[in-house]
Amino acid sequence: MSAVVEFEDVVAVTGSFPVLTGVDVSVNEGEIVLVRGENGAGKTSFLRACAGLLRVSAGSARVLGFDMRVDRRTPRRYIGLLGHENNLYRDLWAKEHVEFRAAAGGGPKSDAEAALAKVGFPSTLWSVPISALSAGQRRKVAIASVIATRPRLWLLDEPHAALDAESRTNLNSVLREAASAGATVVFASHESALSKELSSRVITLQGGRVAGDSGAS
């Protein structure tokens, strides 16, 4: 199995604050990794560093084989990121948005409907402007947008937040399915029950570095 994320002593800085202070992690293909830790531990920063949105200022970071200190752009093609915020164009309709993201990811637009169905987004709301949707419905659109780009590496920041109980278990099965098809899932979450059930490995962050790793090899 090839390593999808290989971080060695990664340091990252925002403003002048070190949000990652030396992260050593190696994630293999097909894993479902839960990143946990207190508020402010550095989970979001870690995911953003994996996505290439946060510059790595020391250490070595490889994602999908690309050296993130050399080329942060190319790997993004294979990465799907769900942040704390939903990254939605509020004036578009839900379906239009997912179609746009699907097409922008190089896939067929027809993936959109399937993705929306997968997250349980009701088809009656496909043509409603995103700004009119409820918080959970928006989250579903955001998740569907990630699904529709068929990423090889899924980076999800609190994917369960805002979803109702049913959608949460549903999301878990979607992620499991993706992982079994060969994708890698790294997600941060505060829902211990749901995420432990989902994950095959738990990484605990603290103060911007790894404090525990259930799958450390």
Binding site: L54, R73, N86, N87, L88, Y89, L92, A103
Partner: protein, 222 residues
């Protein structure tokens, strides 16, 4: 790549179509500015010799800046700039797609503003070819610069106020060139309107080249 450019531009234009910002809000606003300006300056009539051409481009500068702001507001609200940066489209497509959409929106503005100015100022067009070419050249320059500086400001806070500050100095030469070219086209100045027009094409070209080259860098940094 063309497909990507069109995809992005179509997305922006669809949002414009929904919200009708360019036609419904910015166009009347620029009209208003032309009216107010002309009136404020008319008291000292010689100032108005600046003329229709200059005021046209001042209004477009204002309207175009607003449209650029709006265009990047779309890409930054709700954390969207991450989405923009994560997009697997080629950076060139991102640049050209945004520029194309902005170009179309500014054109919409001009289609409203142009006839209005002709009417209000009672000017005669001496050279339609020059007028249209200069219009297109100026609009191209505006949209290309707008996107370049828009993305520069996008990752930052206080972009509402920063963007104009970055944009206006860059667009000032376009403003001057556009005004001169239009003055020739309207027959009030013997100057070589075509060379001013070429200047605008050169400015667009330079910014396009810089944009295509630098857009990757600009996207990298938040």
């Amino acid at each position: 790549m063309l497909a990507e450019v069109l995809l992005l531009a179509r997305k922006d234009l669809r949002i414009e179509w929904r919200a009708k910002v360019a036609l419904g809000q910015v166009a009347p606003l620029t009209l208003l500015i032309v009216v107010i300006f002309a009136f404020a300056l008319d008291a000292n009539a010689p100032l108005l010799e600046l003329g229709a051409g200059g005021l046209y481009w001042v209004a477009i500068l204002y309207g175009g800046t607003l449209l650029t702001q709006r265009s990047f507001e779309l890409e930054t609200e709700d954390g969207n700039f991450d989405g923009f940066r994560m997009s697997s489209m080629k950076v060139h497509s991102l640049f050209l797609g945004k520029a194309l959409a902005l170009f179309v929106q500014i054109c919409l503005l001009e289609i409203v503003l142009g006839p209005a100015i002709l009417l209000f100022y009672d000017v005669q067009v001496a050279n339609w070819a020059l007028l249209v070419t200069a219009g297109v050249a100026g609009t191209m320059a505006f949209s290309v610069c707008g996107v370049l500086w828009g993305v520069m400001a996008a990752g930052l806070r206080v972009r509402t106020t920063l963007l104009p500050l970055l944009l206006v100095p860059v667009l000032a030469p376009v403003l001057l060139a556009g005004s001169r070219a239009f003055e020739t086209a309207l027959g009030v100045r013997a100057d070589a309107g075509w060379s001013w027009t070429s200047l605008m094409f050169v400015i667009s070209a330079v910014h396009t080249v810089v944009g295509l080259g630098a857009f990757g860098f600009l996207l990298e940094e938040s």
